[in-house]
Symmetry: C2
């Protein structure tokens, strides 16, 4: 299955059906985003008036497109879409992203249109994302057929039944300097669903973790089979826990939201990490992509902030880590190496006058003693990004450092060292990497 | 009691004992922050070498200070502090902030020094903050005797046993554009404690809510009395829930952390809002300061993002709100006013093509029908800040809007409309304002 999605993520040429010269219109914004994200191939605007858009003259009808276009992005009124798909099929287009709404989410008439759309696509061999979606963003191919324009490459694939939720996640990842490998907005899932995408990203070399926001699974058997085959970690936030939430979910994208308890049991059995908030979805994915799995639960906490370390200790103990005392050998060695006012214990408090070098001293001396070392930088500590070796089993939180923190956090994350904004979020995220 | 803290927050002249010309030193950074925050009175550096610091010549000894200085900020080795306090007492100084560490947190010897310090201060009638603390920041008097340099005025007073935790909170508030009324780092609490500060901020006209991070209460009777007298909302994050967390707390500032269950019961009885994470501490304080209390639980959710609204509905129902269906009158009116593809229900989905004006239409039409209206802006929606009337009982979440979101969020918050980064955090925070 997954190979059939290749034209969606690796197209050679893209047609934008419903591209517009009016900057207020979605048809302009998407066409512009595709261009500005630096898509390497041809991008052909299609517009009945033949408008000039960003210097390119539109083709007037999908029927006029030349051969060799693999992907179409469609932003036209719903009632025109099914026939347009047939025209695209004749031009040998192989995948389409239907942004337009007005399908199953809008009532009976829309539902009939959506069925016609799906039938036509199947007949032509076109794979469909949507309709009623926010598109696809695959920065490794400079493909931003979506909005907002976000292009930073990373290792988390984001699949979402809500466009906004997906956009929020890739925006956080981009602001963090971590980036994402893909964002797919599922919309009404007339064809491509979460199972297809789990299949695809399981084989995608740029993706390390798959994070999904869903309101319900579309095809349970297909989903189970895709998850079972996938060797990469999967994190899911499933909405619709309450009765009114479930009702809202069912009216949103006509999902059968189903009983939350069943989802919970199935996710547990399949080894899916379940997030219960959007921030957990992001944090868990971030830890699974960027923090190596600790070989055991013994955690050393190094800090400049006593309070932050107490908070970390509480959460670590609650989440199954063990903040065990320093072994005497290490303790003695650290007393020699550190100024006398440092509190040599676990947590190890370097106190407020510390610089980054003091962390390096401890990280080096403590090597081999613990399963995971957590560094908490509290207050402005310049140079934190210089002393953290990337790829080591290190958990980092940085807080209370204002401008210095923001600069260092970004530098660290550009080196692929994940930095969490609070000790709690750091520890809870890493707990997902702990085999209990 | 609280009047005796006036010199701490409203000094006329400040002496910085241990000011330094070396930019690497805390004694430089604090002196510079006091100057750069725009303190309106005289700031006198005191330094045994008589250094020139930022253009001002230091006084060589506290004994050489002239009369009329009400506040001293002290950053000198611990062993010199008790005698210095006596000198300051002779110069009629009335309050001191002791930044220096090396007291009770560092062992027996330090504990003895701290007792001597407290005795000397009491003898001279000097109120002490600290020792071993990150100072005091009171932007309404342009007083930043702390770090980092953060100056944005707002309505939350932050009191913290951890300097870093306090600094993180005021940094978040400042980045949000909301600001804070005060930050006090308690340190070892040789004199001034959380009860004194609850007393003071209860009467402080700039403070609407008091948020505290503590590892343990210093004097239970005094604390209970201060909380009972305080008419403003209080939010507390108490660390040391687990056995190892409690041990770490006790070694951090020699607090008697005590049993968590007892704290929980007492907080509940006193009507204190207990936060269980740093972000909750911040969110709860933000809602209590900036979002009016809803008269009842009936919530209308307006959204551009179906998914975000489902998430909000789940949390609202879980937290005691009622996302009840639209009354027929309102429903009929909205169908007339809104484009036909909008989903008129509760949640009310304006769909992805909405602009800010469509929110205004609904907010106006819905007036009087619900106890609270939550607006969720999903994706870039310019002008959100223009249509939200400040001071109304409105809850706002904004996500997935990248640059537009960041600009609008700041504009909204500068108008004192609190904006939360996820629907969950918004609803959980507002739940603190709901009388169940």
């Amino acid at each position: 299955m997954s190979s059939s999605l290749r034209p969606l993520f690796h197209p050679t040429r893209i047609a934008v059906i419903g591209a517009s010269a009016n900057p207020e219109k979605m048809g302009f914004q998407i066409y512009r985003n595709i261009r500005e994200a630096g898509f390497p191939g041809e991008v052909i605007p299609v517009n009945p008036k033949g408008e000039q858009i960003l210097g390119t003259t539109s083709v007037k009808s999908p029927g006029d497109l030349r051969e060799g276009i693999d992907l179409a992005v469609v932003i036209i009124p719903a009632k025109l879409v099914p026939a347009t798909i047939l025209q695209l099929g004749e031009r040998s287009v192989r995948a389409a992203i239907i942004i337009s709404g007005g399908f199953a989410e809008s009532g009976e008439e829309g539902a009939a249109l959506q069925e016609e759309l799906a039938r036509n696509a199947a007949r032509c061999g076109i794979r469909l994302v949507g309709p009623n979606c926010q598109g696809v963003n695959y920065p490794y191919h400079n493909l931003c057929a979506s909005w907002p324009l976000i292009t930073r490459r990373g290792e988390m694939a984001i699949v979402s039944q809500s466009g906004t939720v997906g956009a929020a996640l890739i925006d956080w990842a981009s602001e963090d300097g971590l980036g994402f490998s893909a964002f797919v907005s599922l919309g009404n899932r007339a064809d491509v669903d979460e199972a297809d995408l789990i299949d695809f990203f399981a084989d995608d070399p740029n993706t390390k973790v798959i994070a999904l926001y869903i309101e319900g699974v579309k095809d349970a058997a297909k989903f189970l089979s895709a998850v079972r085959k996938c060797r990469k970690p999967i994190v899911i936030f499933k909405a619709g826990r309450t009765e009114r939430g479930r009702q809202a979910a069912e009216s949103h994208t006509r999902s059968l939201a189903g009983s939350d308890a069943i989802y919970d049991g199935v996710f547990r059995q399949l080894g899916i990490h379940r997030a219960s908030t959007l921030e957990e979805l992001y944090d868990f994915a971030k830890a699974l992509a960027y923090v190596p799995a600790p070989p055991g639960p013994r955690m050393l906490i190094i800090t400049s902030s006593g309070g932050s370390a107490i908070i970390a200790t509480d959460v670590a103990e609650e989440e199954g880590f063990s903040v065990v005392p320093l072994p005497p050998g290490l303790s003695g060695r650290l007393r020699e190496l550190l100024p006398s006012h440092c509190i040599v214990g676990n947590p190890l408090d370097l106190t407020g006058d510390t610089d980054a070098e003091r962390y390096r001293t401890v990280l080096t001396a403590a090597e081999g003693y613990y399963d995971v070392v957590m560094s908490i930088f509290g207050d402005p500590i310049p140079g934190a990004s210089r002393i953290m070796p990337p790829g080591r089993c290190d958990l980092v939180a940085y807080l209370g450092g204002a401008e210095v923190e923001r600069a260092e956090r970004r530098l660290l994350q550009e080196k692929k060292v994940a930095v969490f904004p609070t000790p709690e979020r750091a520890v809870r995220a890493l707990a997902k990497r702990l085999r209990l």
